[in-house]
């Protein structure tokens, strides 16, 4: 089998995401209206981010286990691509919030900025931002790889409390918070409409594969650049 099959799969899934995401039937909800279709784009960005951070931490642990420089390159680039997806998720969230929470729900901007998931996601992205600052502050390669691998584990450990647990404990405008419908929309199969599920899961896989593809391109460039170091 062609080893590039997953790249083609990513393309097919994303074409399906756009065509199905724009045209298939969706639940008719007040305030959200057609913007519920953002589920396939905005939410998929965050899912791709979490998966890429997950891959990154695996390579960090692998580095700590064997001190192979190759694993450090993998960990760094997956974290970078994950952060990029997170920034895209944040930006798309701004746009979505502007047309639903602010203009159609008459909430104030300061009220929106208190939204715990916004703050949590900002904290999570800043923690990952510090990962790159930390990497840049080392001149010694082995030290950089080792310390940043340990830091990456801490960053991943902070990711889930800040974007999932804390917004659930306090009131949140996002699904799953207290004061909303309650419960866990990720695990409650009655919460997300099956029509949305039809496109949402392929969308998550498609966007994640695209992000992984771009991350592997960056990794391959770095591997060629550091060829002499890797063979030494």
């Amino acid at each position: 089998m062609n080893k590039n099959w997953w790249k083609i799969l990513s393309f097919i899934l994303l074409v399906y995401t756009i065509v199905g995401g724009f045209l298939l039937d969706i639940p008719h909800l007040p305030i959200l209206n057609e913007s519920i279709r953002n589920l396939y784009f905005h939410v998929a960005m965050w899912f791709a981010m979490m998966i890429l951070f997950g891959v990154s931490i695996v390579y960090s642990i692998k580095y700590l286990a064997g001190a192979k420089y190759r694993n450090d390159i993998f960990a760094k680039n997956f974290a970078a691509m994950g952060s990029f997806m997170g920034i895209l998720g944040y930006t798309t969230g701004f746009i979505w919030a502007n047309y639903t929470w602010i203009s159609d729900q008459n909430q104030s901007l300061s009220g929106i900025l208190k939204e715990p998931k916004l703050i949590g996601a900002a904290i999570a992205l800043l923690i990952y931002g510090a990962y790159f600052v930390l990497r840049g502050s080392f001149t010694d390669m082995d030290k950089r790889a080792r310390v940043s691998a340990v830091y990456n584990i801490f960053a991943f450990a902070m990711l889930f409390p800040s974007i999932w647990i804390i917004p659930r404990l306090v009131g949140s405008l996002h699904p799953g918070g207290q004061g909303g419908a309650g419960g866990n929309p990720a695990l409650n199969f009655k919460d997300i409409d099956s029509r949305l599920r039809m496109v949402f899961y392929p969308a998550v896989i498609g966007w994640t594969l695209l992000a992984v593809w771009i991350a592997t391109l960056k990794i391959r460039i770095q591997l060629i650049k550091d060829k002499t170091l890797l063979n030494a």
Binding site: K7, F11, L14, V15, V19, I214
Partner: protein, 77 residues
């Protein structure tokens, strides 16, 4: 070589004439609602997004291929 270029030119002219035919065909029936104009022209948005996606993938794929070539070169050195 000459034969191939003549063949290419002929097929190109054929495509052009088809395109002209389709344009004049559309002009004759302005009132006909074709698929692209249905549902508030949402299909136009879909087509634009798919075009962007195809372009993006072609770009990433070309980078991928270039990189594979560089990898092959640096491996043989």
């Amino acid at each position: 070589m000459h034969k191939i270029s003549a063949y290419l030119l002929r097929s190109f002219l054929l495509i052009i004439s088809f395109a002209i035919c389709s344009i004049s065909h559309a002009q004759q029936r302005v009132e006909m609602a074709d698929a692209m104009r249905a549902n508030g022209k949402i299909y136009v948005v879909v087509t634009v997004c798919v075009t962007i996606l195809v372009g993006l993938f072609l770009y990433v794929f070309s980078i991928d291929r270039k990189l594979s070539k560089i990898e092959k070169d640096s491996a043989s050195q």
